[in-house]
């Protein structure tokens, strides 16, 4: 945990530097792009701090999720609206088909997990990133999948430190957080959420959050 804190603070410090760079550029010109980049950076830093806080609270035993019904169409409309538009990025295909109309989960924490995964996928993607929703009837769980068309996860990462590949700057925070949030999604009959990471047969990385 201490290593994770140090690494995250290091990341956040770097992110603040990046933010300053973009703000400088924004000051000089009247181009909107640097401001959008700055906003993106703010979202990243905010996310890191919130995630760190969640891990801290988990350690204290006081992390409690707010599971509530989410209308999936509305939920993804909001995510799309909140996701900052940055030029020259791979195209994001937001889900358009909803296998079930609603699902109960913590909308806020799951948003952080998905945005992390999305940022990561965008960094590795060539042209596009897909977000897909599927319903697994046998396990009675909803799968939120972020798929990119990049090189996929390197083989050795599966063996040992899966985390690093997932992360913006490599602190491991994103994956640790995603894992935590997945596991905190439980049902009264004892089922639990989990992450699934694999390479697609057609190439590219698949990151799935499976929610019971």
């Amino acid at each position: 945990m201490d290593d994770l804190i140090a690494a995250t603070l290091h990341d956040a410090k770097n992110s603040l530097n990046t933010l300053l760079v973009w703000l400088d550029r924004a000051e000089r010109g009247d181009d909107a792009a640097p401001l959008q980049q700055a906003r993106q950076q703010v979202a990243v830093i905010n996310g890191q701090l919130v995630e760190l806080l969640a891990l801290y609270r988990d350690g204290k035993g006081s992390l409690r999720l707010h599971i509530a019904d989410q209308d999936l169409r509305d939920y993804f409309d909001d995510l799309k609206c909140e996701w900052p538009v940055v030029p020259d990025q791979p195209v994001i295909h937001w889900p358009e088909d909803f296998p079930v109309p609603a699902w109960a989960f913590d909308g806020y924490q799951v948003k952080l997990v998905l945005f992390d995964a999305l940022r990561n996928a965008l960094r590795h993607a060539n042209r596009q990133v897909d977000i897909r929703l599927t319903f697994d009837a046998t396990e009675k769980c909803l799968c939120l999948t972020v798929a990119d068309d990049g090189p996929g996860f390197p083989e050795q990462e599966f063996a040992a430190e899966q985390g690093k590949a997932m992360d913006a700057a490599g602190s491991g925070l994103g994956l640790t957080f995603a894992q935590l949030i997945a596991e905190h999604h439980r049902t009264p009959d004892g089922r639990q959420g989990r992450l699934e990471m694999k390479n697609a047969p057609t190439g590219g990385a698949l990151f799935s959050l499976r929610l019971p």
Binding site: H66, D69, C81, P101, K140, P188, D189
Partner: protein, 540 residues
């Protein structure tokens, strides 16, 4: 694209001027120009008493120990928030925990800071659209609503394949429970749970189990639900209520856990009451003190908080503190017979506890005098009975308790509270027999009156029932029977406008006592059948 909000009226509630102005700018960005502002609960209540707003945007943090959730509850209880109005709560991360878990009085939606204007616009439009689509249902919900009509609206909307099917099902479950149609409610919850687990259906199922008398299964189900949904306040509330009767220790612990999630005046009050019962006086003191002190607006306190605080002090031998709390109680509320009687009754009990019998008797005399001629609220009556027992005025105590038991013949909660008064006086067994007799005498009265009516002795039946109904304003059963007897008379013997008018008033009295009483529709239909056009109309 801002047109849908252009003609709406808004009220923005936030105690911080900077936040108000920044949200105000965002609102005007998205077309909502007509927007009033309020800085605190008092101003908000004033504004909302004067006029209706389409959109209410409220920050969770309102200063003065008050929050948006408390305001929302207050507005709903006082009927200041029409169902057509949108209530959007804005929160930071901490407030989000409390808003997102609010059980009974949830806002229409909540939005986490920081947010963009576009997101704000999307949310407001989305809620407006939903309100519009579900208007046929919403208009029948709430304190003055009509559960049967609301249920019919649910079915119509479900048949029309509304995209808000889930919200409708959730309301339908609540309505079926209110109307006592447990089997149908259970089937509804089971069918949702078969597809997926979700907190409201899990708790709904537990409530059905409890209502059908299967309390241990209900408790187990709620415990399991809480393991998966540790923030779902409705589950804590239901569980605490189930435990209250036989396991007050466990109930206290459950309320403690819910307080860790969302500290509210109401929960502190509940905790204080349980701690008093469990003889955990130090905890009772801090809980009631929190209830009294945290709410600096004064909107949420009740007589119970000060009375509870005084008892907590008295039980620990802190007589002076107890008396000071009672004095404070007098300063905080508008004068009323109930307030005076309650203050004096608790004072009498405090003195009795401290061994000062003379002071106890003097205070009791004041309490009884204050209560003469006025109808006192139930907690005051019970407190008064308690004080009578403590000063040896047993007959007076029993008179009061008989009145309460007859008035609340069908209300298990009030009857249990009356039983606790006996228990505290060390008369547990006597209480059981006494209350049972009071209850039975009411059943007997109703049965005899019905038998008389059937035998054609309507005048006698009317005399019996109206005497009881005029005395017992909270007894729905008696009011309904009185109205029925009067209507039967008119039906058989021809119009007597004074009887019709009295029947009308008893129906209103019955509605006030218990709007969901299963026999209400019967008497209402009979009234409309008997009352000719042009006479007193019974409103919906």
């Amino acid at each position: 694209m801002n047109a849908p909000l252009r003609d709406r009226t808004g009220l923005l509630i936030d105690d911080q001027p900077e936040m108000r102005s920044s949200v105000r700018i965002q609102l005007s960005d998205i077309g909502l120009e007509k927007c009033d502002q309020a800085r605190n609960i008092k101003e908000a209540v004033e504004r909302l008493s004067q006029r209706q707003y389409d959109l209410i945007i409220c920050d969770y943090n309102l200063g003065q120990g008050a929050d948006g959730q408390q305001l929302l509850e207050l507005l709903r209880r006082r009927n200041l928030l029409p169902h057509a109005s949108v209530f959007l709560m804005i929160t930071g991360e901490t407030g989000y925990e409390q808003v997102s878990t609010a059980a009974e009085y949830a806002p229409d939606d909540y939005l986490l800071k920081p947010f963009t204007s576009e997101l704000l616009r999307n949310r407001l439009l989305r809620i407006l659209e939903k309100k519009q689509a579900l208007q046929s249902l919403y208009q029948h919900l709430g304190e003055k609503g009509d559960s049967r009509k609301a249920l019919a609206a649910c079915d119509a909307l479900l048949a029309g394949n509304s995209r808000y099917g889930l919200d409708i099902l959730r309301h339908k479950g609540d309505l079926l429970m209110t109307l006592g149609r447990h089997d149908e409610a259970l089937a509804l919850y089971e069918s949702v749970l078969q597809q997926r687990s979700t907190p409201w259906a899990e708790v709904g199922k537990a409530r059905v189990l409890a209502a059908d008398g299967n309390e241990s299964a209900a408790k187990a189900h709620l415990q399991e639900a809480l393991r998966a949904y540790p923030n779902y306040l409705a589950a804590y509330d239901s569980l605490a209520e189930l435990l209250e009767k036989d396991e007050p220790d466990a109930a206290q612990e459950v309320v403690e856990r819910s307080l860790a999630i969302a500290p509210s005046t109401q929960r502190h009050r509940r905790l204080g009451a349980l701690a008093l019962e469990n003889k955990d006086y130090a905890r009772a003191e801090t809980a009631f003190r929190r209830a009294v002190e945290k709410d600096r607006t004064g909107f949420f306190k009740s007589h119970d908080d000060y009375a509870g605080l005084a008892h907590s002090y008295a039980e620990q031998g802190k007589t002076q503190e107890a008396l000071a709390a009672l004095k404070e109680m007098g300063n905080h509320f508008r004068a009323s017979a109930s307030l005076d009687a309650r203050q004096a009754a608790v004072e009498s009990l405090v003195h009795a506890k401290a061994g000062d019998a003379d002071a106890a008797k003097a205070a009791l005399a004041r309490a009884l005098k204050a209560g003469q001629g006025d109808e006192l609220d139930t907690s005051t009556q019970l407190e008064l009975a308690q004080a009578c027992f403590a000063s040896g005025q047993d007959d007076e105590a029993k008179n009061i308790l008989r009145g309460v038991a007859e008035d609340y013949q069908e209300n298990e909660k009030v009857l249990a509270a009356a039983q606790r008064v006996f228990a505290k006086a060390g008369r547990d067994d006597e209480g059981g027999i006494f209350l049972d007799a009071a209850k039975r005498s009411m059943v007997k009265l109703n049965n005899e009156a019905v038998a008389l009516a059937k035998a054609g002795e309507l005048d006698k039946a009317i005399a019996m029932l109206t005497e009881a109904a005029d005395r017992l304003h909270n007894n729905c059963q008696v009011a309904i029977n009185a109205a029925l007897a009067l209507l039967m008379y008119v039906h058989r013997n021809g119009m007597r406008i004074d009887y019709l008018s009295k029947a009308h008033d008893y129906i209103i009295q019955a509605r006030y006592a218990n709007p969901e009483h299963p026999r209400l529709p019967e008497v209402e239909t009979f009234y409309r059948h008997v009352a000719p056009p042009g006479t007193i109309l019974l409103e919906e």
